[in-house]
Amino acid sequence: MTRQLPTLMIGGLIAGGLALAGCGAPGSDTAPASDASAASQTYVPPGGLDEYYLFYSGGHSGQVYVAGLPSMRHIATIPVFAPYPATGYGFDEETKAMLGDYTWGDVHHPGLSQTDGLYDGRWLFVNDNANNRVARIDLRDFKTKQIFGPIPNSSGTHGSSFVTENTEYVLVATRFSVPLPTGRYAPPSAYADEFSGMVSGLRVDPETGTLSVGWQVLTPPFNWDLGSTGKGPSSGWAFWTSYNSEMAYETLEATSTQADRDYAAIVNWRAAEQAVREGRTRTIGGVPVIDPAETSGVLYFVGVPKSPHGIDTDPSGRWIVASGKLQPVATVFDFEKILTAIENRDFEGDVRGVPVIRYEAVVEGEVPVGLGPLHTQFDGQGNAYTSLFIESAVAKWRLPPWSAEDRADLNRVVTDKITVHHNIGHLVVGGSDTKAPYGRYLVAMNKLSKGRHVPVGPSQPETSQLIDITGSTMTMLYEAFTEPEPHFAQILKADAIAPIEVYPRAENTDPNAVWTAAEAGVSRSGNQVTVKMLAIRSRLVPDIVEVTAGDEVTIHLTNAEQTTDMIHGLGIGGHNINVIVDPGETKTVRFRATEPGVFPFYCTNFCSALHQEMSGYLAVKPR
């Protein structure tokens, strides 16, 4: 079974990945039995509220998008790694400092914080695959609070941001190995010897959520791909898949796909934590790094067929499912067998001092799910759902325990399949990574939306499709065009959180905040001009700011409102400045008034009947 690959798969790749025009008449094969019935399941009337949040990654847009389920309506955008004028993100001093010199990021895998293996509604972590950063969004106000990075010894944080069961750590792994420490030169031809990979855990402060480096484990230069955290019997363990066990460095498409199996990393993070605590590490890039050749008991490998992508732990924590992109199976590992194999040293060799667990000793079965399996999610009812990229479908199958008959023919455990449009990447079932999934809905995040929408030119949106998984067969409910480009997503019950709608004035500790017109004003010290500006319906106070060319101007803008949705802005003509302040918020913007002239400024976020009148002038006198 593991070797049936070549012609079938190559054909599948071409049909699925390259010649998508052949992917069937849109909608014909998956139209729900009754459109009216599907509509009634997703219809949220005007004024009605969705039951779930869908937090989906915005890929290289750098942002996180919030939609509601089951309506699939886009509700909000949370800017993370890219400026977002709509909320003034990246214009004020605080968010500018957080973004640093970057104007983009590549958000892949949002991870909700957990307590005792369940979502606790505190934070959402997201990774930047491009620039080696992880950000923390606070779900109290849906704002990015920290961007941590560049993470030392990390390049291409793809295998992130999977959260451990009590939010002790957020996983990070290098997709692209480089010579370490970062910044050292070695010729790419010396890849196998000079380049290194790293799997890491970022520590999360339990009170503040602040991220820092927890532990790092040095690995051969495999391309670490996706991760998952353990629970139950696998509590304290973390898993990653990799591709390129060939350690090739060019033409990866061909050179990294030669081996029948690549390695999954099985990391005992409690042991890693202890090794760091006991100093059994060396320092690379300023942080403690565990060399598994010197410190045993932290890292193990096991083979996974073939060029694997997703690795997912089931809600019980016993079954670990990994899918090989180039092998039409989902491989199920039994974590209890993994523990036994480690205990009995049931290894089939080692790679640079890292024991490789004997595959046959730990595999429970290879489930023939279909072509191009990528990711697996769980409904908590013993069912697994695997996305099939090449086949453009989702396969539903039963987790072990399996009967003898099942084992004899694992096709029996694949119970349903539904076509999606087209070329699905990730899929998400609410709470799949917790010990108590919500089940109910599955969202398929498809890479190609070809033919699914009225034409919008060559830049195409992505489609995401909502599938009802409550019955024995999956039912297609709805389709939405999601901002490029959703990779993974998280679903959270709407009543699991109670976000604030205004910043309570009592919590504003900014020393430059002003709450009345009397406190607002302009002061000067040398060529430093400080403006404490008040925004309240429908005035900006002061509305005339006089400066001299060459002055450095600092504006502290306070929105003195305390009512929901009374948001104000300050856009300054000709200065590339737009600050948006939510009710009760103070933000600071700093700029040099270089050119003489009179520049209008105005409230950019429509607020009130006299919003148009909420304006003023920045008058810059010649020096």
Binding site: Q562, T563, L610
Partner: protein, 203 residues
């Protein structure tokens, strides 16, 4: 009734049951000092949950943890209405004091009271109640009429409704007395009832 018989009537000591009724009346009156007296609510499409002010003898409690007062003031500035500040309400200092005086006089009647003292108390309390209600109505009148002519919006001066509801621009204003007012209002009939009980038991 001759002058001397009126005097005898007024000098008649209160019966035990009458004293009990006065005592209960004092408790109810005291409760009125702590319970909300009036609610003014403003509802508009974008304020479906309403902006609420609850008026107590000693304070104004605005809805939404006090934010509704700021919101009402922010909205009212568009029509040039004076901002509502609790500190401007001098009656919130003397009304609790007055209720205390009436409660003490009531207790005095419970201890050594005659019908005459209840008559005095009833007359004074009626004056207090009518004056307070009048002052409250006058305040509302002033807020609705003393409008800044340079405000962004010019509207006809108006009388906010005292009890009931009315439309003001995009808002529906509802104004209703609450439990505290009912407590205060009950005090007077209880005094009358105590007099009646004393008279009835003597005949």
């Amino acid at each position: 009734m001759s002058v001397s018989s009126l005097q005898r009537f007024l000098d008649r000591p209160l019966s035990l049951r009458a004293r009990l009724v006065v005592f209960v009346g004092v408790v109810v009156l005291a409760a009125g000092a702590f319970l909300p007296l009036w609610r003014i609510q403003l509802v508009a499409p974008q304020y479906a949950e309403g902006l609420t002010l609850e008026i107590y003898a000693h304070s104004i409690e605005a809805g939404n943890d006090g934010q509704d007062l700021q919101e009402i003031n922010t909205l009212n500035h568009y029509i040039g209405m004076k901002p509502i500040h609790e500190a401007d309400f001098v009656e919130m200092q003397w009304i609790p004091f007055a209720i205390g005086v009436f409660a003490l006089l009531g207790l005095r009647a419970v201890a050594i009271g005659r019908i005459g003292s209840l008559v005095d108390l009833g007359v004074l309390f009626s004056y207090f109640a009518i004056f307070s209600l009048g002052a409250f109505a006058y305040r509302l009148y002033t807020y609705g009429h003393d409008l800044d002519p340079s405000a962004p919006m010019t509207i006809e001066p108006f009388m906010p409704v005292l009890v009931g509801r009315q439309q003001i621009a995009n808002f529906v204003q509802t104004s209703v007395p609450l439990s505290g007012s009912i407590c205060l209002a009950l005090f007077l009939p209880m005094l009358v009832g105590a007099i009646w009980l004393t008279v009835r038991e003597d005949t």
